[in-house]
Structure formats: C-alpha cells, structure tokens
C-alpha cells in the first residue's frame, strides 16, 4: 500500500524519532512510504481558536497535497481528528467539501491504521519495562481509538502494561489552552502524572506526541522519574 505520512509540526521539530520509527515499521510491513514535505500543519490551532478562515488557509494546502492519497497516516490522534472529523465541517458547503470528505475516509491515526486497516498487532517488538497508557482525548473520543494501542502493546515481548485510574482523563494539553490557561493545564497534567505514577510504571506511553510534550515537560520540571514515550517508539524496539 502507498502510505502518505502526515508529520505534525511538533513531531517534525521536537520528536523526529517518532516519525522515523513509523517509517521503519511501515516499511518493514512492506508498504511504500511517502511524506510530502510541503505539508507542515493541519490548521487545528487556528480552528480551535475560532479563526476558521485562517485555519482554511493552512488546511487548503494540506488538503491539496493529501487529497488523492491512498492512506494518510498520522502520529497524533489530535491532528488525525482534525483531518478526519473537522475538515468535513471546515469545508461544509464549500467546493472542497467532497475532497475533504474523501481525505477524511482515507486518514488514519497510526495505531488505528496498524490494527483496524492492516489487521496487524504483533510487530515483533521487545521492550523490557512497565508501561501505562494515556488515551489522548481526540484519539479516544473523536476517533474512537481505545483497544487498538492496547492490542499492540500486549504483543510486545517483556512489556508489562498496567492501566492507570485516570487513563481516559485529559492530560491538560489542549493546544492553545495550555498557553492560555497554563494554571488549569498544569493542574490537569499533575493529576494525570500522579495517576500514572501510582501504577508503578516506568513509562507513560501514548499515541499522541502533543499530550506527551506537555506531560514530559511537567515531569522533567518536577524531577519525576516517570518517562514518556510515543507508542511508535515502543513498537520499533528490539
């Protein structure tokens, strides 16, 4: 299959290893991977701030480059939800509506692509360690992704998955929310990290780098031993 990667700006800039692991995994599974370099952002920051006209300036470009892709795969449930759920709304009643709808139908969050589209759960990975999984809200509630990441983690050798009490509670990132309401965002993150730490896990894993950027930022600042990892990093471990 021809897989087109959508690499969100924060993954490209700060967490390139997440993209690299995805490329290796997908190529190992025999797929042809491409990544249109001109695409940098899905437009969600402006969209969530209420500036839909400005969001469309960004989305127009993304839509132009991805509209004919066989499968678009994204390392973030949040950006995935933007393309899959919110592009059809952003373009409702506009000439690009059909293209947005087609893109929506061909877009997959990474773990969902592996499990639901490809039917793959065992990637032959080995990761010795205790992990707990954080459900990113957009992946969980906009895209309905819950069991897929767990099926993938269950097949990783030497990995122990321990569920935390607040697995489905928002980490507090929320895009521009984290900067506009940092005190609330921080309190939410602290609740999340405490719940994860209570499991005794060494790693908090998620399928969304944006949540992890916020959570790792808090953990590092507070000198906590818990580490965050993107699911792709675990699945490509040997």
């Amino acid at each position: 299959m021809n897989v087109t990667l959508f690499i969100p700006c924060f993954v490209d800039s700060c967490f390139p290893q997440v993209g690299m692991h995805m490329v290796r995994i997908l190529e190992r599974l025999g797929h042809r991977v491409t990544c249109p370099e001109a695409v940098a952002c899905c437009g969600q920051p402006a969209f969530n701030s209420g500036y839909w006209d400005e969001a469309r300036i960004v989305a127009d470009k993304t839509l132009h480059h991805l509209r004919d892709a066989e499968a678009v795969v994204i390392a973030s449930g949040s950006c995935g939800a933007m393309l899959k759920v919110f592009y059809p709304q952003l373009y409702a009643g506009r000439p690009e509506e059909a293209a947005a709808q087609r893109l929506s139908e061909h877009t997959w969050e990474f773990s969902d692509f592996l499990v639901s589209k490809l039917g793959v759960t065992d990637l032959g990975a080995r990761f010795p360690g205790k992990v707990t999984f954080h459900d990113g809200c957009h992946g969980l509630r906009e895209l309905g992704i819950k069991s897929g990441p767990r099926k993938l983690l269950e097949k990783v050798r030497d990995l122990e998955l321990i569920e935390m009490g607040d697995a489905e509670t928002c980490c507090g990132f929320g895009g521009t929310f984290a900067a506009k309401f940092p005190m609330i965002s921080t309190a939410m993150g602290e609740v999340k990290c405490a719940s994860a730490a209570d499991t005794g896990a060494e790693y908090m894993v998620s399928n969304d780098s944006s949540c992890l950027m916020h959570l790792q930022g808090l953990l590092s600042r507070q000198g906590k031993p818990l580490k965050t990892l993107h699911l792709a990093q675990i699945l490509d471990s040997q």
Partner: protein, 464 residues
C-alpha cells in the same frame, strides 16, 4: 478582556494551586464515578437509553410551543395560576407580587437553580422577607453566604468539620463529625421554618405536557415539606423542562439519578398536579407556576446548539470535566458551571462577556460522553469560539493566525523558523524564569522540548 474573564483567570490561578481543594474534589468525584458506573450497568443498554432520552427531548424542544401550551392549559384546569415570564426581572417581580399578595413574612425554598439564575433570594431579602433554603446543601451554603458550588451538590467543597464549625457558629450546635447528627441539626432548624412559612418556593425537574404535572426529584424530603406546609406554593421552572408524556418519566427519573448522582432513583420523586382540590385535606391553597424564558428562546433559535436545551441539569458533565475538577464550581462565576454552563452562559448572558469559558476547555469531550441526553457539549464550545470571533474578531489575533498560516505554508520560512529556534535555544534557556521569557506561559511550570538537531523532514530528505 471582560471583567468576568479577568475574575475567572484570577480565581483559577488561586484554586488550581490549592492542593486541599484538588484532593477533596478529585476524591469525591472518583467515588461518584464508581457509583455511577455500577448504576449504569443496571440499564439493559445505557447507550440506547441515552439515545431514547435524546430523541424525547428533541421532540419536546422542537415542539416547545405545542407542549408548553398543553402543559399550561392542563395545569390551569385544576386551578393553578401559570405565569409566563420572558426575563429574569419579570419572573422576580411576579414572585415578589405573589408573596406580597399572600401577606407573607417567611418564605421557605427548596433547591432551584432557576432561582439562583434570576437572583431571587437577594431580591426577596431586599424586600424584607426571610428566605430559608431547605435543601441541606443549599442551607449550608446559604449560612456561608455563598452561591452553590455545584448544581446538584451545592456544598460538596466542604468537609464535615467545616460544616460542624459553621453550624456551631451560626446555629449554636455542639461540634460533631457524624453526618447523621449534622443532618439532625439542620433538620431541627428547618422544621420550625416550615411551620412558620407562608410561601414555599420550589424548582422543578420535569414538566409533563400530557397530564399538566410538575415532577420534583430530591433526596431529603424537603421539597415535599416546602410544597405541602405553606399556604401558597410557587414553582419556578425554565421552559426547557418539558417532557411530552407521563411515561417519559420511567426513563428520565432513573437516567437523571444515575447520571447525576450514581443512584438507581432519587429518594423522593413527587408529581404535582394542582393546588388543594375540593375535598382534599392538605396541600397549598394556591399554586403558582412561573415559566421562565430568560433568553432560552434565543438558544432555541440556534439550530446548531438547540440541543443544549435538552439539559436536565443532572450535573454529569460537571462531574467528569477535568476543568471543573480542578477549578471547582465557584471559579466560573456563573449559575450553571462546568461544560453545560460554559456552553449556555454566553447565550444567556452575552457572548463577548462569557466567551472565555468556551476557551477554558481542552475540548477533551468527557462531557459529551457523559451527557445522558447526548448534548454535543464540547463541539458547542468550539462553535462558541467560532461565533465569538465571527461577532467580534480580534485583529491582532487574526493577524497572528494569518502569519502562522503563511509561515507553515512556506517551507523555506518554516525551516528558517526551526533554525532560529535552534540558535536562540541557549538564550531562551537563560531567560527562562525571568519576565523576558517569550514562552513563559508554558515554561513557568513545564520544560519546553528543544528543536531537534535534525528534524524529521531533514532526516527524510537526507535518507533519500
């Protein structure tokens, strides 16, 4: 920034650092979640129950004109006086008039968020009436001279010790940590008031169009006493409380109790059909039903967010909201707090003054998932943001988003930005913790990841 937004930011800044508050609320609401899940499992199919409830409310709200007049004519036929009030002040004046006509001195009230909405107590107290809240939680917050913390659990932010201290100070009771004893102290104080009261004011959970009845749900029996003992009864309700048929309660009563409090059904469920009828020995001589619009019809006129009128005020969305759980009920500065409050307050009280509540959300969607009548709450927050910008865009923000769009759409500029970020990183780290830090809203509590030496796209390009 509006005054309300300023107050919200200040209050949130203080309370999110209050670890005692955080512990208290998180613990209480985790217990609620356990109880709710246990009761949800008693439904054959919880999601089908929600769907059915949503469809019933959709029918009720989309035919509000028919159902309201049906309700009014049925209830009037048994001697009830129905008052149609467009605004809060109009409802307030109507109720003040009823109380004056009754030559009342003491008014007893059971829990009614609509009364909070129109600031009824303040108005009546200004007129010189004594108004006594008879719901235990409301009684407690009234003694503290503060608004309810939560629409269902008004005093959930207080510990037993704090309540005991309050009763000792205000009622002269002996200190105790036992919930039963605390309840008995309140009961002794309240029973005297029921007997003295000339007018009882209640809210309502549902208004049944088919039979012309008001359904009131409570756990303490105080609403029954409020309605049964005084000569005159007043029921204040929002026009969205309508349900088409009596049999709808078979679903809505357990749904409300489960979603709101993790109960099978609430302790007391009473249907009121009219004042004392000829030959009956008790009940109020007069019953006034005050139907309140207060801009609900403006929400009705918005096809995108009309479903917000489905709300049965169960509080489920507050209970699961991570924002509510961290900032608490008082921070909002609104009658209706939490997700549903953030959705409807801009409609009821003005978009520009209250749009900050729609922004103060991570859009996680826990509220929408919890809502028993399937209101699309978190997407309405998104729509409010869009509508607030549409009504009154900030040109600075618009320019900033245009600049952002230009930067991410121009690969050379985007890469130049990454390069600049790498170069200034040592300087940024030196500025971290000072007022000059350009990203201090992030870095005050969190580390910022640096731009990697090789971005993904650079790696991709080199690899090929």
């Amino acid at each position: 920034m509006s005054n309300a937004a300023q107050q919200f930011l200040e209050a949130a800044g203080t309370i999110t650092r209050n670890l005692r508050h955080r512990g208290l609320i998180q613990t209480a609401l985790r217990k609620y979640e356990v109880a709710r899940d246990r009761k949800k499992s008693a439904f054959n199919d919880w999601s089908a129950a929600r769907q059915s409830a949503a469809e019933t409310k959709w029918d009720a709200i989309n035919h509000l004109d028919t159902y309201l007049t049906e309700f009014a004519s049925k209830i009037e036929a048994r001697g009830t006086k129905v008052h149609w009030c467009t605004t809060g002040p109009e409802a307030r004046d109507t109720i003040r008039g009823i109380i004056k006509d009754a030559k009342a001195k003491c008014v007893v009230k059971s829990k009614a968020m609509t009364a909070e909405e129109i600031h009824l107590n303040e108005a009546l107290e200004k007129d010189g009436f004594e108004v006594v809240e008879s719901d235990l939680g409301e009684f407690i917050v009234q003694l503290r001279k503060e608004p309810p913390y939560h629409i269902v659990f008004p005093a959930m932010h207080l510990t037993r010790d704090e309540i005991s201290d309050l009763f000792e100070r205000e009622l002269g009771s002996a200190p105790t940590r036992e919930p039963e004893e605390l309840t008995m102290i309140a009961r002794r104080a309240l029973r005297r008031k029921y007997i003295q009261a000339d007018v009882g004011i209640t809210g309502a959970n549902f208004a049944i169009a088919e039979t012309g009845m008001v359904s009131i749900t409570e756990n303490e029996g105080n609403a029954r006493l409020t309605s049964a003992l005084p000569r005159v009864m007043v029921t204040l309700l929002g026009i969205e409380k309508i349900l088409p048929k009596l049999e709808d309660l078979a679903l809505f009563l357990p749904l409300l109790a489960t979603a709101g409090a993790g109960q099978t059904v609430t302790g007391y469920n009473t249907l009121y059909g009219g004042p004392r009828q000829p030959g009956e020995s008790d009940g109020p001589i007069e019953w006034h039903v005050v139907l309140l619009d207060n801009r609900r019809t403006e929400l009705l006129a918005d096809p995108e967010q009309r479903d917000a009128l489905h709300c049965i005020r169960c509080g489920a969305c507050l209970n699961v909201c991570p924002i509510f759980r961290n900032v608490g009920g008082h921070t909002y500065g609104t009658t209706y707090s939490g997700p549903v409050g953030s959705v409807i307050t801009p409609h009821l009280r003005g978009m520009q003054e209250w749009k900050h509540l729609s922004n103060a959300s991570s859009l996680c969607g826990a509220c929408t998932e919890a809502c028993p009548v399937k209101i699309d709450l978190h997407h309405h927050l998104l729509q409010n943001r869009r509508n607030a910008v549409g009504d009154s865009p900030s040109w600075i923000e618009r320019l900033a988003w245009r600049a952002h769009a230009f930067a991410v759409n121009t690969p050379a500029l985007y890469q130049f930005g990454q390069e600049v970020a790498r170069i200034v990183e040592p300087l940024r780290l030196r500025l971290q913790g000072t007022p000059l830090d350009p990203v201090k809203s992030w870095t005050r509590t969190r580390d910022l990841p640096p731009v990697a030496p090789e971005s993904f796209k650079e790696w991709w390009r080199n690899r090929r």
